[in-house]
Symmetry: C2
Subunit: 80 residues, 2 copies
């Protein structure tokens, strides 16, 4: 079973990497870009057949290790 | 219009960050995890009404700036 985890900074937390990319894109002639946010995508393959159990395990992984819950939020998608 | 860009290392390129996360998860008791890949997700907001034009522009952004085409590959999803 495969889980796709997206980790992004919470709204209100300055995304300096996103701002840097926005700035760089503007300087490369992509003036139509108005905002950029940069996050992590983590693909987790696991030996697990029950999608509910998988979702729960991946939630624990996020809370314990994959995301910094003070400044980041996560979304999990179980795909197969 | 909003584009979601996922950037991952090409198959065959060592994903050391993914291996480190896999190792850390195993040590945290998540033994069922068999593989982890870590990539970037970049959300680009742009003043563009034509989704075909938007897709083309974001492809150029990826080739020029967002991805390192020697070792990385990207996927673009235009969402709104």
């Amino acid at each position: 079973m495969k889980a796709i985890v997206n980790v992004f900074l919470k709204n209100g937390v300055l995304d300096s990497q996103g701002k840097a990319v926005l700035h760089a894109l503007s300087h490369h002639g992509f003036e139509s870009v108005t905002d950029v946010r940069v996050g992590k995508q983590i693909i987790v393959e696991m030996d697990e057949t029950d999608s509910v159990v998988a979702q729960e395990k991946v939630s624990h992984m996020c809370e314990e290790l994959l995301a910094n819950m003070v400044i980041e939020e996560y979304a999990i998608e179980i795909v197969a």
